[in-house]
């Protein structure tokens, strides 16, 4: 959900207005294409996908866990500022929370698309099966979205009131609604906001780690029928790769949104974020190393088959190309090499490369484990998403980017330190 691609750096002379036009047009094109694909999805049902009973989950589930991860990662980054007082990251705090909300909406849209009976989605809330991790997750996601919205409201409340006072017309009405009737601009109320933000942050950290993303990993880890997922390390790897992708996305959004508006990019912030993301990435890689090493050492037949599918199967390019090269080797080189570590452009490339790499990670979680049949002698699954799956995914992502762009335009997502100080 970044802003226009890296071409902005080459065409510094292009006016922001033109860029914005291009951006909106491309969003609308993607959205329209996605709409057509979703139309086919609705009329033909899941027959429009390349899924089968042998390969019950595919691209949409991979994107769903990717966006849940982005959300959890972004939120946890925001808590570094709110709860742990890491002020140097303050510039991305609001964007982090807003990204977390949008990513969650996108993730749930992917889950909805994936349901065989979309019309019955409420059943997961009405008939709550207490032994089902998925049922718990659905409830955690909703609770988490409520918490994120409350936290963002507290963060931008005073700015909303100010915008309400300053603006006219429909914007005044909108901000009036968003303030939920609050008009208190006193420093005491701001302190009160900060207190509650901290409390919500404290609640949010375990909710995001155990409830939202660790829980999503648990959803896979408890499936004893699939030996590759059935590991206690799995939920932890999920949380770590969430932190990696969340930090990477926010670094990218920060750089791009500053650049397109021709604002100053604070290289120290970017470097600090990049180092944080490299730190998370290295822990993530070590956990994966142990996961694969230990499971491979067992020489257990099914385990070996999954590893062979992932490392050397038909779609091994997604492992080596996305997960390993884009998701680890290239960004680590860019972050640590003497020639590139001071360059904003290089670090922007490193961060978007990680985001793409983590998409590969998510696909490699879902697909190889399902390709290997549960009983020897069954036909081996084969899966590559159909055009409906690709294009609808593009549409859903475009929807998220559009929501983000609208939010970034209307909501006070920039933390202007001077302004905040002057009011306090």
């Amino acid at each position: 959900m970044g802003l226009p691609g890296t071409n902005t750096q080459k065409q510094v002379s292009t006016s922001p207005q033109l860029l914005e036009k291009i951006w909106w047009i491309s969003l609308f094109v993607m959205l329209a294409a996605g709409g057509i694909a979703i139309f086919y999805r609705i009329t033909d049902g899941l027959a429009s996908t390349n899924l089968s009973s042998l390969m019950p989950w595919g691209a949409w589930i991979a994107f769903y866990i990717f966006f849940v991860g982005l959300s959890a990662g972004s939120f946890l980054l925001s808590t570094l500022i709110i709860v742990f007082g890491m002020e140097r990251f303050e510039v991305v705090g609001r964007a982090a929370l807003f990204t977390a909300i949008i990513a969650m909406i996108v993730a749930l849209t992917f889950v909805l698309l994936d349901l065989g009976r979309m019309d019955r989605f409420l059943n997961a809330m009405i008939y709550w099966n207490l032994t089902s991790i998925l049922a718990w997750e659905v409830h955690f996601y909703l609770l988490y979205i409520v918490l994120l919205v409350a936290e963002l409201y507290l963060m931008i409340r005073t700015d909303l009131i100010r915008l309400h006072q300053e603006s006219t017309g429909w914007k005044k009405k909108l901000y009036g609604i968003l303030t939920i009737g609050s008009t208190d601009l006193s420093p005491e109320s701001r302190l009160n906001d900060k207190k509650w933000m901290k409390i919500l942050g404290y609640i949010g950290i375990p909710l995001a780690i155990f409830g939202v993303h660790g829980g999503t990993g648990t959803l896979f880890a408890v499936v004893k029928a699939r030996v590759y997922w059935n590991s206690a390390l799995f939920p932890i790897i999920f949380v770590l790769s969430a932190l990696v992708s969340g930090t990477a996305l926010l670094t990218f959004i920060y750089i791009i949104s500053q650049k397109v508006r021709k604002l100053h990019v604070n290289i120290d912030v970017v470097k600090a974020l990049a180092q944080l993301m490299a730190f998370f990435l290295i822990i993530d890689l070590s956990l994966e190393f142990y996961e694969w090493g230990v499971s491979g050492y067992g020489l257990e037949h099914e385990h070996m088959a999954v590893l062979a599918t992932m490392f050397a199967g038909k779609h091994a390019w997604s492992f080596w190309g996305f997960q390993m090269f884009l998701g680890a080797v290239l960004p680590l080189y860019l972050i640590f090499s003497k020639r590139t570590r001071e360059s904003v452009t290089a670090l922007a490339i490193a961060s978007i490369s990680i985001v793409l790499g983590i998409i590969g990670v998510r696909f490699n979680i879902v697909v190889p484990a399902l390709i290997v049949p549960v009983i020897e002698g069954y036909p081996t699954g084969d899966y590559f998403p159909s055009w409906v799956e690709w294009v609808s995914s593009l549409g859903v992502v475009a929807m998220g980017m559009m929501l983000y762009t609208i939010g970034a335009k209307l909501l006070p997502l920039d933390e202007d330190e001077n302004e905040v100080l002057s009011h306090e």
Binding site: L51, S52, P56, L115, G116, N123, Y127, S132
Partner: protein, 300 residues
């Protein structure tokens, strides 16, 4: 000399054998005196039991005559009755036994299942996994028919977010087609690959009238098969032909098996054929280590 006489040269006469055996047999009176129980009663019962066998005494008279003594002798142990009587309060719990030594891999079960349940393309409640194992010349062809295992601890029911799949009293794992949201978590979680998603396909093009009728699965008659209509878009699996069981028939795969390799019955009844076969040393269950407690038992 005839052949019989020649053989007799090497044999003792029958009485000598008896003698040899008798020296090894303990004196029954001594053995019974050593036991904690009443010896006179045992001898009297033994004699009357012979009368029952020869038809000079009815079983009822025998029971009447000895009941008071046996109650004194064995107490509750006697009063509890026959351990092999099924407990009627437990009801029927269906189970299936498949004798792999009798399976020829003809796929009749698969075909009759598709015909009975009118399953669409891509949905097969029963399959036969056929595999060649070993290296020439030591080859074996293994056929493994695989219905739903109707596990007592079903992972599919455990993971279902809506409780649409659940365990029935009679042992069958059922799916509520009207509640299922089609998330396919159960398909992923089933260690036996016994579940399929109904993608809405049809044999109508190659078989006229396929869509005109559906099987009354779980006793619910859903009429014609139509686009978007339940059970399209939900997960399906073998029901042990519950609609047939309810009218006193065996599942289609059991009835049609050409080699009589499948047995069906009540695993709660210790005298049923399936219970007896389940106790055979040849018996095993698939992926026992996962703790799913399948109700389909194989004989190797």
């Amino acid at each position: 000399m005839g052949l019989g006489d020649k053989l007799n040269l090497f044999m003792l006469d029958p009485k000598s054998y008896d003698h040899m055996v008798n020296t090894q047999v303990k004196d029954p009176i001594n053995v019974m005196t050593d036991s904690d129980y009443d010896m006179d009663l045992a001898i009297r019962m033994g004699k009357d039991a012979q009368k029952v066998l020869s038809g000079n005494m009815t079983q009822d008279d025998f029971h009447q005559k000895y009941s008071p003594d046996l109650k004194i002798e064995f107490g509750d142990l006697y009063a509890s009755g026959n351990a092999n009587t099924p407990d009627p309060s437990k009801g029927v719990r269906w189970g299936m036994v498949i004798d792999l030594a009798k399976c020829v891999g003809c796929d009749t079960c698969t075909v009759s299942c598709k015909a009975e349940n009118r399953t669409p393309p891509g949905v097969s409640y029963n399959v036969v996994i056929e595999q060649e194992i070993g290296v020439f010349p030591n080859l074996a062809k293994v056929n493994l028919p695989r219905p739903c295992m109707q596990c007592d601890k079903p992972p599919c029911a455990q993971v279902c977010p809506t409780r649409a799949t659940y365990k029935l009293e009679n042992g069958i794992v059922a799916i509520d087609y009207d509640r299922c949201i089609g998330c396919r978590y159960c398909v992923v979680a089933c260690p036996y690959g016994a579940r399929s998603f109904d993608f809405g396909e049809s044999y109508e093009d190659e078989m006229i009238g396929f869509n005109d009728i559906t099987a009354p699965e779980y006793g619910v008659d859903r009429g014609t098969r139509e686009k978007g209509k339940t059970p399209q878009g939900v997960v399906r699996k073998c029901t042990f032909c519950m609609h047939r069981l309810e009218r006193g028939e065996e599942p289609a795969c059991v009835e049609t098996c050409i080699g009589d390799a499948r047995y069906f019955g009540d695993l709660n009844d210790p005298n049923s054929v399936v219970s007896k076969l389940a106790a055979s040393p040849r018996a095993f269950r698939l992926k026992e280590e996962l703790g799913t407690e399948p109700r389909v038992i194989y004989l190797r």
